[in-house]
């Protein structure tokens, strides 16, 4: 247990101390949101209509941007070599790292969403549903992203490859996440969407650490 806490704490500490950490992804999220609004034009109804999907897509991209450092930095300085020799199982350690990633990228995005909702003229009840769906869905982004990060560790220009590998896998998360917001906006029951989103997150929670650990092992060998 202590090894997990140790890995988790270290990754949080590093994210905070190195180059702005959590604020970088959040900064991208807000700037890209501004650009998207400028691109769409200032018509309030159009913006409100586009907002649920746009915020989700931007969150997904912001998450993607920080993924390639999840294991790459540890690979480059050799500290990734230590993980398999800990007496805690590798998938559990990987999960601790993914959780730290979510806390430092996913959570700030959720906290920044009200600002984007303001810019996009999103009504309050839609904003609440957006926050709920992001809270349920963004862990899956970090989890699935972890697989991609592990697969591309040590590869030159791995970040670009990572997006090619991972983005298609994000499709269900995007669909269920946006679906919940749009359902509630049109007066329908958002629960089925949220349930499916939660199921996708849970499936990722079980499978992603295993797949990531397998990918890491083969790159370390």
């Amino acid at each position: 247990m202590s090894a997990l806490v140790c890995v988790f704490r270290r990754d949080l500490l590093l994210a905070i101390r190195q180059g702005g950490g959590p604020s970088l992804g959040l900064g991208f999220f807000l700037i890209a949101g501004t650009l998207a609004a400028i691109g769409l034009g200032p018509e309030p109804n159009l913006l409100a209509r586009a907002a649920p999907g746009m915020i989700w897509v931007l969150a997904l991209l912001a998450c993607l941007l920080s993924l390639d450092r999840m294991f790459q930095a540890d690979f480059e300085d050799g500290s990734l070599d230590l993980l398999p020799s800990a007496s805690t199982a590798l998938p559990a350690l990987v999960l601790a790292k993914i959780l730290a990633h979510w806390l430092t990228t996913g959570l700030p995005l959720i906290l920044g969403t009200p600002v984007l909702a303001l810019l996009f003229n999103l009504p309050d009840d839609a904003l609440i549903m957006e926050l709920v769906s992001l809270t349920i869905g963004t862990p899956a982004l970090s989890l699935i992203g972890g697989i991609g990060a592990a697969l591309t560790v040590g590869i030159r220009r791995g970040g670009l490859l990572l997006s090619l590998l991972i983005l298609p896998l994000y499709v269900p998360i995007l669909i269920f996440g946006v679906g919940a917001v749009e359902a509630s906006a049109s007066g329908m029951d958002p629960f089925p969407h949220l349930a499916l989103l939660g199921a996708a997150s849970l499936v990722s929670l079980v499978l992603a650490p295993l797949a990531s650990a397998a990918a890491l092992r083969l790159h370390l060998s």
Partner: protein
């Protein structure tokens, strides 16, 4: 099955089977196209356009099937470390991507007269498009990793993750589609297939399957050759490294005679 795990056995078998498989594919394909393009009647609603279905629908089947084949090969690669399974999966990917691309192109050609535009976010087309991206990622990962043993394992992990995701993606896209698509719009190869077009569709499906098999057999054989070549070159390089002293000594005495 396990005999095929030996690259040499697989190579010999593939070489013997290949001409036959190609021939059967050619015959079935001609027959299927004849049935689909000439014999079968035009649709009362879609007219002659319906004939694109005979090329499109089976291509979408094979696109899915090829990915499943890769997933099965990936499992056996991860469990038993079979070189042939790795190379089979590697060889399948461009073939599967090719059929996926064919399904995309024919789908959008069908859409032009039916929907009045080349692209509509139809459930099947959307799933096929995402499947195409999965193929691209798989092939990109193979080519990004130098060490072929590692590349094979990484690609196998990715393929399995994709295979687990594929039904979820398909389900989510269908779900998304029913929410957004008005029911009146014609669906690509919709749920009710008229019996008159079922026979040509099945013949084309089998023809594609045999064609896929022929292409994959040949490509796997080539991959086995390349794999052997790479091993031989690596062995040669380390031998040369060991013999450097002897070689330089010899060339000093007879610059031209060394070869």
């Amino acid at each position: 099955m396990f005999q095929l795990a030996n690259p040499r056995r697989f190579y010999d078998l593939a070489q013997r089977l290949e001409p036959w498989v190609w021939a059967i594919a050619a015959i079935l394909l001609s027959y299927g196209l004849y049935l689909g393009l000439i014999v079968s009647p035009p649709d009362y609603q879609q007219g002659e356009t319906v004939r694109i279905m005979f090329v499109h629908v089976p291509a979408a089947w094979i696109a899915m099937m090829a990915y499943s084949g890769m997933a099965v090969a990936s499992i056996s690669s991860l469990i038993w470390r079979h070189v042939v399974a790795d190379l089979f999966a590697k060889a399948s990917a461009p073939v599967g991507a090719g059929f996926t691309f064919l399904a995309l192109v024919t789908g959008s050609l069908w859409g032009r007269p039916m929907w009045g535009t080349y692209w509509v976010w139809d459930a099947r087309l959307t799933s096929v498009l995402i499947l195409f991206f999965l193929y691209l990622g798989y092939m990109a990962l193979w080519s990004a990793i130098e060490d072929q043993t590692k590349a094979a394992r990484a690609a196998a992990v990715l393929c399995l993750v994709g295979a687990i995701n594929l039904p979820i993606i398909k389900f989510s896209v269908d779900w998304w589609n029913t929410l957004h698509q008005p029911a009146s719009v014609a669906r690509l190869g919709g749920p009710s297939i008229h019996p008159a077009i079922l026979t040509p569709l099945l013949v084309m499906g089998i023809a594609y399957m045999v064609l896929y098999l022929a292409m994959v057999l040949q490509r796997t054989r080539i991959e086995i050759l390349e794999h052997r070549l790479a091993l031989a070159l690596a062995a040669d390089a380390s031998r040369a490294d060991r013999d450097t002293s002897t070689l330089s000594h010899r060339s000093a005495h007879s610059p031209e005679g060394a070869l």
